[in-house]
Symmetry: C2
Subunit: 425 residues, 2 copies
Amino acid sequence: MFKKIKKHNIKIAVIGLGYVGLPLLDEFTNKFNCIGYDYNKKRIDELSLSYDRTNQIKKHKLKKLNFTRDLKKIKNCNIFIVTVPTPITKSNKPDLKHLINATKALSKILKKNDLIIYESTVYPGCVENICANIIEKDTGLKLNIDFFLGYSPERISPGEKQKNLKNIVKIVSGSNQNITNFIDKLYKKIINTTYKCSSIRVAEAAKVIENTQRDLNIAFVNELSKIFEKLNLNTHEVIEAASTKWNFIKFVPGLVGGHCIGVDPYYLTHISKKNNYEPKVILAGRKINDSMGKYIVTNFFKLFKKKKIINKKYKILILGLTFKENCPDTRNSKVFDIIKTLNKKNCQVDVFDPNVKKNELEITNIKFNLIKKINKSFYNGVILAVKHKNFKNLSPNKIKSYCKTNNVIYDLKGFFNKKYSDATL
Amino acid sequence: MFKKIKKHNIKIAVIGLGYVGLPLLDEFTNKFNCIGYDYNKKRIDELSLSYDRTNQIKKHKLKKLNFTRDLKKIKNCNIFIVTVPTPITKSNKPDLKHLINATKALSKILKKNDLIIYESTVYPGCVENICANIIEKDTGLKLNIDFFLGYSPERISPGEKQKNLKNIVKIVSGSNQNITNFIDKLYKKIINTTYKCSSIRVAEAAKVIENTQRDLNIAFVNELSKIFEKLNLNTHEVIEAASTKWNFIKFVPGLVGGHCIGVDPYYLTHISKKNNYEPKVILAGRKINDSMGKYIVTNFFKLFKKKKIINKKYKILILGLTFKENCPDTRNSKVFDIIKTLNKKNCQVDVFDPNVKKNELEITNIKFNLIKKINKSFYNGVILAVKHKNFKNLSPNKIKSYCKTNNVIYDLKGFFNKKYSDATL
């Protein structure tokens, strides 16, 4: 039972203040006594100065929020919401270090009747096995007797302002039925619609299949792009025609980067393999999507050859660096795969992306210039990689003006009608 | 140019009077001088007696249509619309024999300025390579000089009455721009909305990717079903929760049979392989879907073992035999895969499906009884395979009443809440 916490004495700590945690802290602060915790000094310093590098929360709102990187400051809280990143390792396995570290930190301050709600993407069983075990071992407290757990997966979509925390349906689940009901009521204070799952494991599974489905559907159109390149067909034109069927789902080919779509499938495949089923379809999709960077450069050089553009050091302009349009985040962007492959081919790579700030880039082993102004009549080829809204003014003629007379324009995202580029994906 | 045919002297022959051809003939007959041709004597005899075994067109409408199996009777037509089946061979390669035979037959009667429009599913390049070559070789006529070709893929969805010919967007394409415009006008006489493609190849590709996308998405949820079986999670419950996300697309696990979804992907993979790209994602999806029949029986027997139901000859009831709900068509139904596998395990298989008529079944090497009345307290296990509307009255209790006290109910399609069955897909 979970009766001790009443509305008037709810104190919430949000653990991890990234894309997910900060908006959550903002909303909950309107309703409850709240504090935001992050172990990253730089992030806490910036937020304390009301600066959010992720562009999620505006200055005047940030001023109302409490931030700390001192565990002692959150120990009197009774609800802890964990929103730390759950990335993958280099060998595509779940990297739970942030989740485990956060759980271990919380174990140091956890009291009887406290509740921890996880929002990070995990695989089915992770919260009730990995996390619960750490807490029980470190604290001696017992799940569902002394402390309680919940899982309510985040569904933040960076760059899509209309999909905000308030109007996205929120899945909730708890370590028992009472806790599920309590968490449901809690989130209903800040969110229009919630959906209760029968168990934490169902909620964990639901989250991980959402992005896996998206990943696979993009892999499908990327595979189509590879087939249609052989058949000399324009993929965008074919998809446009197929989209006139009532049940065709319009996905377009492209790079799959970021912290979710390219990552979450590996959480599912990890737990599946551990249970003796080797996923075939999902992993085939992952392989296609992970191969697109190299594939694009191979095609790009085929076009140089076709147009007889031969150079010792090609000058390449890339438009867009972020993992997704209209957001400033470059982490796990697959545009880096393109640049890396171009580096190997001894190209000079200039990248233009007004959404990205140079001082926020933490890249060491990849060579390129993040330029603020584009040279005229300078480039052998241009790759249109990310379809930011603020690229709208870049007409085909303007892009041509950046190039030498003989050039290759590779329009990955269908910025323009096919007649304005040498190839599209 | 294609000026010679004017509206008042259009004469249309529809070649192949199945699911696709018959409704097309019906609609065009309201506007033009039309005749329907099929080489199958039985079909022509039945249609001439105003009986349509596919339940597509009602008796009073059939009475107004003209049918023949005599090529001479259609030789004065100037537009030929080919709607013959394009299945696959046993080794999953395109089986073009009906398409080629129809084309060869038409070559015998083709005149100058005639137009042939294909509606059958094919791979990109098929109409302008395979078909055009046959005609040019057999007749000596030249494409786009002496005769013309078009492609307008069918989008018939058997069993879905609200998706009829009139209100489904129809893709049109022709061997040149004038022909595309002519075909567009022609179909606009009977269809609300059309969509012009820039070439026949784009239209061919659009058609083939529609069902391939659907096949892959079902393969994905089938793979999830396999993973979640290992994790002891209910797939339907997880999909229901994920469907609360705005961009999750709700597919449910199941058998993929019939003449389209399980077949069309092989047309695409065939032409892809021929052009030196081995599709990974699409073929992984096909493999999963083709494996479901055996997988279901394996699970079924695991449940018998778990419930300690041991028998020399299990008595099994299967509800539903058709390849899709609410239609009478059993061709390529994957329920046969289930029955075949049960046959090998020496089971007695009874199938109940009020949509299927015994005398229309053409099955030789599979052992089962198509029953009209279900025995009480008789079966060891029931497989709920096809979710027909007319199964609505079959309550969980009623289904239990057909079984012995200890039994296994395997609800493939989520007919009921999970608590009423031993397992779902």
